[in-house]
Point group: C2
């Protein structure tokens, strides 16, 4: 369409779409932003089903643009059309029967089995260009722009059933509807891998939050938790996106972590080993059978270990025979042939022999031709025969680690939601009271009672407002005890010296009481001083658990080891609520300080099952009540004996 | 030379070097390994000064080869020749007056100002090939092979004064003489940056060691400490080696951490920001003056923040004007122009305008042309004009972080060695006694006395072999006390429950004594049970310090936070002995758990100066006595009050 021209590039042009004699499936709109609304209306009248609006100047430029976008969207909905954009780079479909390039880019990608969704037009163009150079093909490329109508979730949904798409790549800057994403992604990743570069980690700025859990859940934690829980592979850079995509679109996902490196050069072999071990892969030595086979034709000066360094004289024949032996060695899931081309050896021939050997092999084969030079015939040959070639061995190591981790995720039991018998009514009563009193948070005894109602063990509290009381209580519950200032206003009691632990005698209780009293003076008029007293749990390990609500991901559940581990070491785990039993297990076991729970220095392990159950009970509490903004259970003390595992303090911040 | 041919490639050949009529400076030997010795002898007789022996089959293939190598080396030394190799890839010198390519590779590198040393011939070839593709030039490339005569240290020494070499790259697998490396490298890095890929991290295997310090000093710690202390930049991958080399050979080292990103595309700008912040760089916003300048010509829809996103319409003129403004903004040390080429904009013109703007600028400029396509004219132009161009913004971020860190190192005060007044004689006496008694280690009172002799504060010990004694001692030193089993055979007392802390009453002392006695029973015949008693230091923080001898680097000094921080979190710092005052400072401050020392949660900071002095005193002790194989001071308790800072236990393992 063009209001002025009658013919453009030898194709008949119409002044408006209404003049087109045939039916129109898809309209691509690149008119000035002021004209978009009218053109969309005309499309609606004409009965067009789909729109791609490339024109920019909508919600991305502020309030006025947002208004313009909503007007367009209304028309789109009124006519029952679907719209991609506005402010997008367009879409591409390489299916030969469709062969559509509705973008303003100069690159038409190679046909392939990768579906690609990008939230940035510029990234879309950059990625398409680079992919073409690397020989990576796409089924569909969709730049979704402002996502006013069709979102990345809709496109994901399309890819789910698209027979032409086996792998999905995404460049994302934010999530529109992460819960829907979770639902769709969790299903897709069972059969089609999703690889994502998510940017915008550091631009959000730290979120203001008043609880520990909230403060720790900064920035990108929800995103990482989401990807982990849905089996989406997150890569750090666009380069890694390509590295992983090359592997996935040409080779099977490795069944496990075990790799054999076959090389004609020592240095690169060592570099590969360093990188593989660094990324958590394993390099078992060659099986005796393999060594026996290799000794028949490989010079005795070679290493016969892993990396298998065939030494510099090795050529095409040696690669073929060595790979023949290694591909039948059951110890390995992946093979990395590394070739540094000496001037005397024909690269293409080496490539052909590598291919000949591994073409029918069920292991993952990623090759490295280091310093092979631009336009190497060998590299070209392997790429054409579905063996990805990398310039540096480190990239292969990282790629293998990423996709092996995905296989591990696929193998993992899916996990179940547990349902505990709990006392909802008691919690409701406490909440009602808090609402009635216009409380913003619930602490102290009420907080402990909420936990108990959900079967979360908690220490008993007693209160004393005199030394005499304190001593009586302490003697009756039994020494040692912990004494804390009982003032709702003071949330971080430790910092002001408001906690005295391990008091063992009447005398120590007296001293502690007086010291605490001194710390909070002067009291305001009408306030009276009191302390809480609890039995001290000896020999336990402090843990922290909690919940905070992420504006896009909803409740995040946190677990960590108490005090300094959480606050300085940041040794915490976050998952998106609700938790399955498998996830609760993962949370506890993913702590760097997990050995401390699992029997450190010959100590007996703490009751880890109890810890996992407590996390699941917390998740159930969050599910049953929509009133909590943040929850801290800090500390939750764990010990080898179940009856000593207890929450000592808790705090609920209400919405 | 060739025994058979008279002419090779139209050049006259001689049957032996003795037949050559003129003097010979350098001989390159590629004969069969069995003939090398004779040929070297002939070279010696001829008066040849230098040899490059490319032939392999020497010490790298075992005992017999080693013998062959020593025979050759003897001849080389007898005639006063210098030899590179054997088993090397050769050397290259691109100085037009020399123009020497004595390698068997197919690539002759571009002339440049980078000197390159490689320990692997294959890596040498691979790196030369890749460098050529990237347009990186070399002054000298030296493959040092088995380093039988000339080592990487000798070549470093040559580069130090070579007017054609400004930057040094190295590929290393191991160190021959790390102490000499330290000496040379420390001097060179003041004026010429050294960038190293060191491989072989994971192949060494964990070293057997009996002390904490030894066990922690596994693998690569000495190498990292060495590079850090000499100002050598270590990069992880060959790719990073190139990235850093491109920056260093074309641009100044940035004066600081502050970066401005100027982009025509949002997505890559965000990716760059993520990566920069992630690598510890800073991105302050544009100064008001800069914003004012920019508003004159940049569309109001642009961001006017950092990253400065000029939006997609921006072309050559906008890049020029924006960079003109930013290059004069004093907030920045580096600028990253990012360009994603839209189909409508001429890449070459953008490149020319970028160059025009920044050519006379003293900031570091590293450009990113994302998806510009193979053979982009723009990229070619910038590279020819000394502006490195990267495909992905993440590589720029990592590169800037590496070279900025180097600048920080250069700016750092050099540090002094402190000399304390100590009592060497007392230590000598204790050592003499141990040697006389054939002790393998010194523990208990003697160990504490060694510390005291070097002015390292240590807790007093008393010993008790009955409950009565224990109670008397405890009352007299004052409660609370710590009680430990006093059995030399039991090194890890905590694991067997051999330590009781915080005993506050006679009754608790009695219970503890009896419990400990039960833990070590049955005693062997003739052994009597006793415990040590120390005053407990309340409110201190446990630290650990020690020394272990690395087979190649000599004594490594270790510092960490006690117990779990060291053992599970691996939060430790190692430096190569001897320590300067600046290094002692760095060690303490580089701890992840440093906040715990520096006033955590409103607590007063511990006496950090005292801690640093203690590390320096330990270093002096190691310098004065060559008898220690390993030292553990564990724990060394620090507290805000100097008189409470004390070593509680120490152990010296003798050589």
């Amino acid at each position: 369409m063009n209001p002025k021209a009658q013919v453009i590039h030898s194709i008949k042009a119409y002044s408006t779409i209404l003049g087109v004699p045939d039916a129109v499936d898809l309209a691509i709109i690149i008119v000035r932003k002021e004209l978009v609304l009218d053109v969309v209306k005309q499309c609606g009248e004409k009965g067009v089903k789909g729109l791609v609006i490339i024109t920019a100047g909508f919600s991305e430029v502020g309030k006025e643009g947002k208004k313009r976008e909503l007007e367009v969207l209304k028309v789109v909905n009124d006519y029952g059309m679907n719209m991609i954009g506005p402010n997008c780079f367009g879409i591409v479909n390489t299916n030969p029967e469709i062969s559509l390039n509705a973008t303003f880019g100069k690159t038409y990608p190679k046909q392939g089995r990768i579906g690609f969704i990008t939230q940035s037009g510029a990234m879309g163009e950059a990625i398409m260009n680079t992919a073409k150079e690397l020989g990576i093909g796409f089924s569909v490329v969709a730049s979704i722009g402002n996502k006013a109508d069709i979102s990345s979730n809709d496109i994901l949904d399309y890819f789910k059933d698209d027979p032409n798409t086996d792998i999905i790549l995404m460049y994302l800057e934010n999530f529109g509807n992460p819960r829907k994403f979770t639902e769709i992604a969790r299903e897709i990743t069972q059969t089609k891998p999703i690889v994502v570069v998510k940017s915008g980690r550091t631009t959000l700025g730290a979120k203001a939050a008043s609880s520990h859990t909230g403060a720790l859940a900064g920035l990108d934690i929800g995103v990482d938790a989401l990807f982990e829980q849905t089996g989406v592979m997150r890569v750090e850079t666009v380069e890694e996106l390509f590295d992983v995509a090359s592997a996935l679109s040409n080779q099977p996902i490795p069944k496990g972590n075990s790799v054999c490196v076959v090389t004609n050069a020592g240095g690169p072999g060592i570099l590969a080993t360093d990188a593989l071990i660094n990324y958590g892969m394993e390099m078992p030595s060659l099986s005796p059978t393999t060594v026996k086979k290799l000794k028949k034709f490989i010079s005795a000066e070679a290493s016969f270990s892993n990396p298998m360094d065939m030494v510099a004289g090795a050529g095409a024949k040696e690669f073929k025979l060595t790979l023949d032996a290694v591909k039948n060695d059951k110890r390995y899931d992946s093979i990395i042939p590394i070739f540094v081309p000496p001037v005397t050896i024909n690269q293409l021939e080496v490539a052909q022999h590598i291919y000949e050997s591994v073409k029918d092999c069920d292991k993952t084969v990623l090759a490295c031709f280091m310093g092979a030079g631009e336009g190497s015939e060998g590299i070209k040959f392997l790429k054409e025969h579905n063996i990805p070639v990398y310039i540096f061995p480190e990239a292969i190591a990282k790629t293998l680690a990423t996709i092996s981790k995905h296989q591990k995720w696929l193998n993992k039991p899916k996990g179940k939601f547990r349902k505990f018998k709990v006392d909802e009514a008691s919690v409701q009563k406490i909440l009602d009271k808090a609402v009635k009193n216009k409380e913003k948070s619930i602490i102290g005894e009420d907080a402990i009672d909420i936990l108990k109602a959900y079967g979360i063990a908690a220490a008993e509290y007693s209160y004393a407002s005199s030394v005499k009381d304190a001593q009586n209580i302490s003697s009756s519950i039994g020494y040692p005890v912990v004494m804390k200032i009982n003032t709702p206003q003071i949330l971080h009691k430790t910092e002001i010296g408001g906690v005295k632990v391990d008091l063992r005698t009447n005398d120590e209780v007296k001293k502690a009481f007086n010291a605490l009293k001194k710390n909070v003076s002067p009291l305001k008029k009408g306030e009276s001083f009191s302390v809480s007293i609890q039995k001290m749990i000896v020999g336990g390990v402090e843990t922290v658990m909690g919940m905070t609500i992420d504006p896009s991901f909803g409740p995040l559940i946190m677990f960590g080891l108490g005090g300094i581990y959480v606050e300085i070491m940041k040794d915490v785990s976050f998952k998106i609520h609700p938790l399955t039993d498998v996830q609760a297990k993962d949370m506890v076991r993913s702590m760097k300080a997990f050995p401390l729970l699992n029997g450190f220095r010959g100590a007996p392990a703490v009751d880890i099952k109890m810890l996992e159950d407590t996390l699941l009970r917390l998740s159930q509490l969050i599910k049953d009540f929509d009133t909590f903004q943040e929850i801290d259970i800090n500390p939750f003390i764990v010990s080898p004996e179940r009856e000593l595992c207890k929450a000592v303090d808790a705090r609920f911040i209400l919405k």
